[in-house]
């Protein structure tokens, strides 16, 4: 689960895929996750850090995580 190398992300949540020309708007939390993925952090480590900082249950986070990854996959932003 790695972000493609050439994907540009900004702190404000702007995401650009130079290969396809598509751009995206990520919510603040999604932007934070993208930055961490891009920095090469493992999903489990990212989730643990989110759980420690955000008011959310592990099961809720897992569902939302899966949904986000499915979206990233559909938008062709992940390494296959």
């Amino acid at each position: 689960m790695k972000l493609k190398k050439n994907i540009a992300t900004s702190e404000a949540g702007f995401v650009f895929n130079p290969a396809t020309g598509d751009s995206f708007a990520a919510s603040p939390l999604a932007a934070e996750i993208l930055e961490l993925l891009k920095a090469g952090q493992a999903p489990a480590a990212i989730q643990a850090s989110l759980l420690a900082r955000y008011e959310v249950s592990a099961s809720q986070l897992q569902r939302d995580w899966d949904d986000l990854m499915a979206q990233l996959h559909q938008f062709q932003l992940l390494e296959s």
């Binding site: 995206f24 708007a25 990520a26 919510s27 986000l68 979206q71 559909q74």
Partner: protein, 450 residues
């Protein structure tokens, strides 16, 4: 250490389409309370989903209609259109304000009588009056709005054995420039049917007492000018009645059909921007009647059967998000604990729906649907809302008209309906249904028992 508030992470593809004129924030403003009562408190106490009616708004809407017409025409009478919402508490609020009753069935007639409306203040419309209905209406002196020649014939038979002449009005349908023209109800004006019927009534003055003429153009009519046309035509017919048949007409009933501020499906503008002011309707009708040529002192009473315009705004449907998911094409979907079974008007309107709690400014378009497990069960095809999660509560606005009479007991039971009185105290005005209530009229044949 306190944790940060959480909202699910989302990512959305940016498309270079036309920008929505109304912005993504429309609909996202939270509505945390109704008439000062917190929504979560109402749902905790009465369960979810829940219909809520505001007595203050019911009275306010009634007074607004009376003001719009009463300041332009000397004699105005509202007749509450029962089918719009015939919960007794709602009807009684309007009757307290001074409304007569407009009914379209024997059932509604009995409801109006049960609510204490004198028979003489009940107007009985509709194409489906049975002989028993006509006899009952004659017995209580309700005004029978004649719909067709067979009914007129039937009423003459009913009238034959009665001590008093039944009071009647003629329902007329006419071309007021509205499409589609409602021509199924009453006698057509332009093809001469209405005049023919009036001649028959005139020939039967020993048996029938003609008191009024009626015309209901349709519903959610957005052209005030059409009412002007209808009023002009109805007034001319009344004058002709008086001059040629010596039948003075005491009231002209212009029906209902005035819109609420809901947004019709497919409408480019939201309801509050698309709907003409009530004053425009009142002005069109009053101008037509005042200029029609009635002699001073002989102006007919103006009757209006507003339904939607009186009750829609006062109704809310509160509900809860059961789940969110993603559809095959990537769209967000939100499952609510109510569907089109309760919100019949979701077929007509893009209902305004608000979250209850405060969210960040992040929003997402979502389809909203209910628990029915049927493809037709769509509350909103696409609405931009904050990032709702299971357990979040929502408020659907302007649901007072037609839902609490056209709702279906289908798949789930109908919930409580609560009236917030002028002090904001909640009163249950219809109990939530139970399995026992639902099955009470059912019978299981002996061979299927045991």
């Amino acid at each position: 250490m306190t944790k940060l508030p959480y909202e699910r992470p989302t990512i959305r593809k940016l498309t270079a389409g036309p920008l929505s004129k109304f912005g993504p924030r429309a609909g996202a403003r939270p509505v945390a309370e109704l008439e000062g009562v917190p929504v979560p408190e109402l749902l905790a106490r009465f369960g979810s989903p829940l219909f809520v009616l505001s007595e203050r708004q019911l009275r306010r809407s009634y007074q607004a209609v009376m003001r719009a017409f009463g300041t332009r025409y000397p004699q105005v009478q509202l007749a509450w259109s029962y089918k719009t919402n015939y919960l007794n508490a709602v009807c009684r609020v309007f009757h307290q304000e001074g409304a007569w009753a407009e009914v379209v069935s024997g059932l509604e007639l009995e409801k109006a009588l049960g609510n204490g409306v004198p028979g003489a203040q009940i107007l009985f419309n509709g194409p489906g009056k049975t002989r028993a209905d006509l006899a009952r209406a004659a017995e209580v002196d309700a005004v029978i709005h004649l719909d067709n020649a067979d009914e007129l014939h039937r009423l003459l038979e009913v009238a034959a054995g009665r001590p008093h002449r039944p009071r009647v009005a003629l329902r007329v349908n006419l071309d007021a420039g509205i499409f589609p023209q409602w021509d199924r109800f009453g006698f057509n004006l332009e093809n001469g049917q209405a005049w023919q019927a009036l001649q028959q009534v005139a020939a039967a003055t020993e048996q029938l007492d003609l008191v009024g003429l009626h015309c209901h153009l349709g519903t959610y009519i957005l052209q005030p000018a059409a009412y002007g046309v209808a009023a002009t035509k109805l007034a001319a017919l009344a004058l002709r009645c008086q001059q040629e048949l010596s039948l003075p007409v005491r009231y002209l009933d212009l029906g209902g059909g005035f819109p609420s501020q809901n947004t019709l499906k497919g409408s480019y503008l939201p309801g509050p921007d698309a709907v003409p002011d009530l004053d425009d309707y009142a002005a069109a009708i009053a101008e037509a009647l005042l200029g029609a040529g009635f002699r001073v002192g002989e102006l007919p009473l103006l009757v209006l059967e507003a339904g939607r315009a009186l009750v829609d705004e006062a109704g809310y449907l509160l509900g809860t998000v059961l789940a969110t998911k993603r559809l095959a094409d990537g769209r967000r979907a939100t499952v609510l604990d109510f569907g089109v079974n309760l919100l019949f008007t979701a077929y007509w309107y893009d209902h305004h729906i608000s979250p209850v709690r405060t969210f960040s400014e992040q929003t997402e378009p979502t389809v909203l649907y209910g628990p029915l497990c049927m493809n037709i069960d769509v509350v909103r095809e696409s609405i931009v809302l904050p990032l709702l999660a299971a357990g979040d509560q929502v408020v659907v606005h302007r649901v007072g008209a037609y839902n609490m009479s056209q709702w279906q007991q289908f798949i789930t039971l109908r919930p409580h309906v609560v009236l917030l009185d002028l002090q904001g105290n909640p009163h249950i005005i219809r109990e939530a249904e139970t399995l026992e209530y639902l099955q009470q009229p059912e019978r299981v044949p002996a061979h299927l028992q045991g």
